[in-house]
């Protein structure tokens, strides 16, 4: 509601850029007073009063899902609906990325909401983060000093904070080619079917000769940033696929212990911890079953 002390969203100027370097130039020039407009679905909800300059990047050619020898490259401006429907995200384990976008937002806002926007908004509950982290994805960043790469796992600095420096723009996400026999699952629990996650989780297993070589358990909305439950992951690595069903209880218990949830109007910390355990357990079983089917 209206509050005496809340100033209004009244940007001075709007720029529509045609190139990445134009965008970078404006972002560097105006710093915190500038806001990137991609899909608009976060910016126009929060309407931050400190923003004086809008840099509309929606026309940049960053809307693609490409596959090459290195893996899958997703342009930062790819809409969540395009991700959900992309034919290049049908194969396992990349389908977990499409799965996450299906669980997000509404069918309407996802026509405009972008994967880059979801990551840069950096909500602890960002649904795109856990599957990308589970697949060891990298964020490609372009700035005044050139290009750099950061693991998506290291992209978040805190609630609503990323590691982007002044003038930097997230341009692409690179999901490296997964080792053979990698499968993943994503689960989310909200209050209704369309909701910000109370808890979300992505689980990924890479299994060769029946032994788990790499495990990722990534949880969102249970800490200031999306986190990996490394203790739980360690319990899985080196174990046989056959042992997993017997371990899900303890592994998910461990994952829940590694969370640092808060209580807010969406859920209490205790409930979040309980959900973290249940969702991890279910996602893990789901991945194990996928191996069973193949």
């Amino acid at each position: 509601m209206q509050n005496d002390s809340m100033p209004l969203f009244r940007p001075k100027e709007y720029f529509r850029v045609a190139t990445v370097s134009e965008a970078v130039g404006l972002l560097e020039k105006y710093g915190d007073a500038a806001a990137v407009l991609a899909g608009g679905t976060d910016l126009l909800v929060t309407k931050p009063p400190h923003v004086d300059y809008i840099v509309d990047i929606s026309r940049l050619p960053l809307n693609y899902v490409e596959r090459d020898g290195k893996g899958i490259r997703i342009g930062a401006l790819t809409s969540l609906n395009d991700i959900a429907e992309s034919p290049r995200l049908r194969d396992e384990p990349y389908d977990v990325i499409a799965r996450a976008s299906l669980e997000m937002g509404t069918p309407l806002t996802k026509n405009f909401a972008t994967i880059g926007g979801n990551l840069c908004n950096a909500a602890p509950s960002a649904d795109m983060a856990p599957p990308l982290i589970a697949l060891d994805a990298e964020a490609r960043i372009t700035g005044p000093a050139g290009e750099r790469k950061v693991l998506v796992e290291e992209f978040f600095a805190g609630p609503k904070k990323t590691v982007l420096r002044r003038g930097e723009l997230l341009t692409e996400i690179l999901v490296p080619e997964a080792p053979a026999k990698t499968k993943a699952a994503f689960l989310k629990k909200g209050r209704t079917s369309e909701d910000i996650a109370q808890v979300n989780v992505a689980v990924r297993l890479t299994v060769t000769d029946g032994i788990c070589r790499a495990a990722r358990i990534v949880l969102g909305a249970v800490a200031p940033t999306p986190i990996r439950a490394k203790g739980a992951e360690a319990m899985l690595e080196g174990r046989g696929l056959g042992e997993m069903p017997g371990m899900v209880e303890t592994v998910s218990e461990k994952a829940a212990e590694e969370t640092k949830p808060i209580t807010d109007i969406r859920a209490s910390a205790e409930y979040r911890r309980a959900l973290a355990k249940v969702l991890t357990k279910r996602a893990l079983m789901s991945v194990v079953e996928k191996f069973g089917r193949s």
Binding site: M1, Q2, N3, D4, S5, P7, L8, R10, V45, K189, R191, T192, S193, E194, D195, I196, I265, R266, A267, S268, Y271, A274, L275, V278
Partner: protein, 787 residues
């Protein structure tokens, strides 16, 4: 009223609604769409504190801001208050603010941006006061926070007057029912059980926010376009607050994008008028969604305690209820609904010994107002859970238990009246059949559990209340009906046209409806309490009878017969003895000749127009017991009976509930338009599911934390059962006084949904939830209760 009719040709038919075409093409106009040339935009400055003294208000910077044409505070308007039962609410805060969101000042500016910016420049200095938010705390005699220190001096406006309790400074009213002797009843009982129940503050969420637009006419009178379900009440409130005679106030209500009771009280109208008076220009105000949540009414929370005594044979012998209704910071419709919610205890079951105490309690929260059900769903919640617990306790099937206790035609209801038109049993039977009640559900083990539940309820329609209708004949035989019932989506305009069409034997297209412009359309109590079909429908029939008489009198002169010998059907007036002797309606009028054709006119009698009142009485009650002195009189206009059923799946690991099937059976007397009645039932089912599973207004220090849809969770299409599993059942037990036997439906559609779902959850898991909403987190804790 008793109305004889042969086979019906229009009433009872699922005809497409009259406003469908304009709504489906985007042409329909709502208050938010209106504009006038030269119009200014208004914004309201609202209190950020739940309870505070206003030390000073400095509007000078706002007034000097480019584009601002006026700023008003309490100083610019008369020192008046409005309310229900007691006049306790100022239009703009005076001296004190009592809830977060209370209007303190308002601005009119040339564009909306300027108005928003100007609000930032109004400087209000507050001294915060301690506040009370919990209704049980506020109820205490020694509650340290007193919200209305001078309520003893408030003007009382009701009969009977507000019963304030000097020992409890935050109690604005106390309503009782005393029937029989509960203490004796409990002694007679084989089992006595008690329960405590809570419901939260919940929001109607009409899809369209509130809006008002006001214009001062050259003679000083006021025209206001309003989001109002009760235009005549609005005239009264504006008149009281701004010292304008009612005859100089005109209220126009276009289509409303939903009402549900949210649009019964003055909101932006008075402020727009005051600003229009000050600036000399039209002024419009549109609320944001956040403002709808904090600045309009909502259903206040409740705490109730119910004690029930039952015998082994299944008879409920005694029931004791105490319910605290949160009024919020002022007395709005909640004043009335705290006296009408108790009807829930009186209209479904035969309870020989009943003791009920209902209290209206002030807390520092937004004002509570009418919300579909008007206090009944909150009490039904507790009563139905207790009925299910009682059935459990004596080991009897819950449906059988209910049937033993249902009120039936001719029984004495909870207020002592002889009950009429109760289709409860048929509603229940049909619900049970839909649920395959006899079949045990499997899936009582494992993570997902399935359960079935039922609940029964009632909704009265308020008396006393009155409606006028005016009907007129046009020279081409069109019948024009003028009424002030509001089209909030329920289809009133269509079904009232159907009633008029049926009366005259005309097709629907020959009825012209003129709706909700008080310059032209006559008095109506309001589009509330599920009353429009019955009261306005009856008024139309009475007016049509008068019009028929007037037509026959005029025709008699032309046909040289006695008026009593004539009847009217279709567009013909014919002799009852010899139907071949007839004239057309057009023949009643003579053409203007000589001076050119200026149209046709009736040579005597003036316009063919009649107006009628339909008035519904409430019988006299003994004030010590609220029992009718004469059992043949009525406590209300009529009772609508309801049964609901639900089948749910419960995820016992997360507490998530999925409704797989929902049944809503309602006795509406007669469905004037079955398609529209089904639409109401469908919508009520889903609203009930939402209020049962997810919806609550969450407050912190009196401030709403979830004022938008991101966190006030509403059911979406995917959250709900399939079309074939959302079953709406129309039951018809005609009411001898209803138009063609019709009663009403609007609120009945969501009286007992939450209780049916709670019963299904209990069937699935063995757990009783007593507090709404039944979120997954709440159920999780109940399922995993740690020692």
């Amino acid at each position: 009223m008793a109305h004889e009719h042969g086979e019906l040709t229009v009433v009872g038919k699922p005809l497409p609604r009259r406003d469908a075409l304009e709504k489906v093409t985007g042409k329909a106009q709502y208050p938010t769409d209106l504009e006038l040339p030269g119009m200014l935009y208004a914004k309201i400055l609202r209190s950020p504190y739940a309870h505070a003294k206003i030390l000073s208000i400095d509007t000078s910077k706002a007034e000097a801001y480019p584009g601002v044409e006026a700023v008003i505070t309490f100083k610019d308007i008369p020192d008046r208050r409005y309310g229900y039962g007691l006049n306790d609410q100022p239009m703009l805060a005076r001296g004190k603010v009592r809830y977060v969101g209370e209007p303190v000042a308002a601005v009119a500016a040339r564009d909306l941006d300027t108005a928003e910016e100007a609000l930032e420049l109004i400087d209000v200095k507050y001294e915060e006061l301690p506040a009370v938010y919990d209704v049980e705390e506020a109820f205490k005699p020694d509650c340290p926070v007193v919200i209305h220190e001078d309520y003893a001096n408030y003007e009382l406006t009701f009969f009977p007057p507000a019963k304030m309790d000097v020992k409890r400074p935050n109690v604005a009213n106390h309503f009782i029912i005393r029937r029989g002797d509960v203490e004796e009843g409990f002694k007679e009982a084989d089992y006595v059980l008690e329960g405590k129940f809570r419901t939260p503050r919940q929001q109607h969420v009409p899809m369209e926010p509130h809006a008002a637009m006001a214009r001062i006419e050259n003679d000083g009178s006021v025209t206001v376009w309003a989001s109002s379900q009760q235009p005549y009440l609005l005239i009264n409130q504006i008149s009281t607050l701004l010292d304008i005679p009612p005859s100089k106030i005109r209220v126009i209500v276009p289509y409303l994008g939903g009402g549900f009771g949210n649009k019964t009280q003055l909101k932006a109208e008075g402020i727009c008028i005051a600003l229009a008076q000050k600036t000399g220009k039209p002024v419009k105000c549109v609320f944001t969604r956040e403002e709808v949540n904090c600045g309009t009414t909502s259903r206040g929370g409740t705490v109730s305690r119910i004690k029930m005594g039952v015998k082994k044979d299944g008879k409920v012998v005694a029931m004791e209820c105490e319910i605290l209704y949160s009024s919020g910071a002022y007395s709005g419709d909640a004043f009335v609904y705290s006296t009408r919610g108790p009807f829930q205890a009186a209209g479904t079951y035969k309870i020989p010994n009943l003791k009920l105490d209902s209290y209206l309690v002030y807390v520092n929260e937004p004002v509570s107002g009418a919300f579909r059900g008007f206090g009944n769903p909150e009490l039904n919640w507790g009563i139905e859970i207790m009925m299910n617990r009682a059935a459990d306790m004596i080991g009897m099937d819950r449906a059988k238990f209910r049937k033993i206790n249902l009120l039936r035609e001719g029984d004495e209801g909870g207020f002592g009246e002889i009950m009429h038109s109760l289709g409860t049993e048929e509603c229940l039977e049909k619900t049970l059949r839909e649920l395959s009640w006899e079949e045990e559900l499997r899936k009582k083990e494992g993570i997902w559990r399935k359960g079935k539940g039922i609940a029964v309820g009632n909704k009265y329609s308020i008396a006393p209340s009155a409606s006028y209708a005016t009907v007129k004949v046009h020279v081409d035989g069109t019948i024009e009906v003028r009424i002030s019932a509001i089209e909030i989506g329920q289809g009133s305009t269509t079904i009232l046209a159907q009633i008029a069409a049926e009366y005259f034997g005309l097709p629907l297209e020959k009825i012209k409806m003129v709706v909700a412009d008080t310059a032209v359309t006559p008095f109506d109590f309001g589009t509330v309490s599920s009353r429009v079909t019955y009261h306005v429908g009856n008024a139309i029939l009475k007016a049509c009878e008068g019009l028929k008489r007037q037509i026959c009198e005029l025709a008699a002169r032309k046909m040289d017969v006695k008026p009593e010998d004539l009847d009217v059907k279709g567009r013909k007036i014919f002799s009852k003895h010899d139907p071949s002797k007839k004239i057309g309606i057009e023949d009643l009028f003579s053409p203007t000749l000589g001076m050119g054709h200026i149209g046709k006119y009736a040579e005597v009698g003036g316009e063919l127009i009649q107006s009628a009142t339909f008035f519904s009485k409430m019988g006299k009650m003994d004030p010590a017991t609220n029992q009718l002195l004469n059992k043949h009189e009525k406590s209300c206009s009529f009772w609508i009976e309801i049964a609901n059923g639900a089948i749910v799946d419960v995820d016992t690991e997360t507490g998530e509930v999925k409704v797989r099937k929902f049944v809503n059976a309602c006795d509406v007397g007669r469905a004037i338009n079955p398609m529209l009645v089904e639409g109401q039932l469908d919508g009520g089912s889903v609203m009930g599911i939402g209020l049962g599973l997810w919806e609550e207004m969450i407050f912190k220090d009196g401030r709403i934390m979830n004022s938008n849809f991101i966190d006030y969770k509403l059911p979406r299409a995917s959250d709900l059962p399939a079309v074939k599993d959302t079953v709406s059942i129309i039951v018809e037990t005609p009411h001898r006084e209803g138009p063609y036997g019709a009663k009403g439906v609007g609120e009945a559609t969501m009286i007992c949904a939450p209780a049916a779902i709670a019963d299904a959850i209990h069937d699935a898991t063995g757990v009783w939830i007593t507090e709404l909403p039944m979120t997954s987190e709440k159920l999780y804790y109940l399922l995993h209760k740690k020692a």
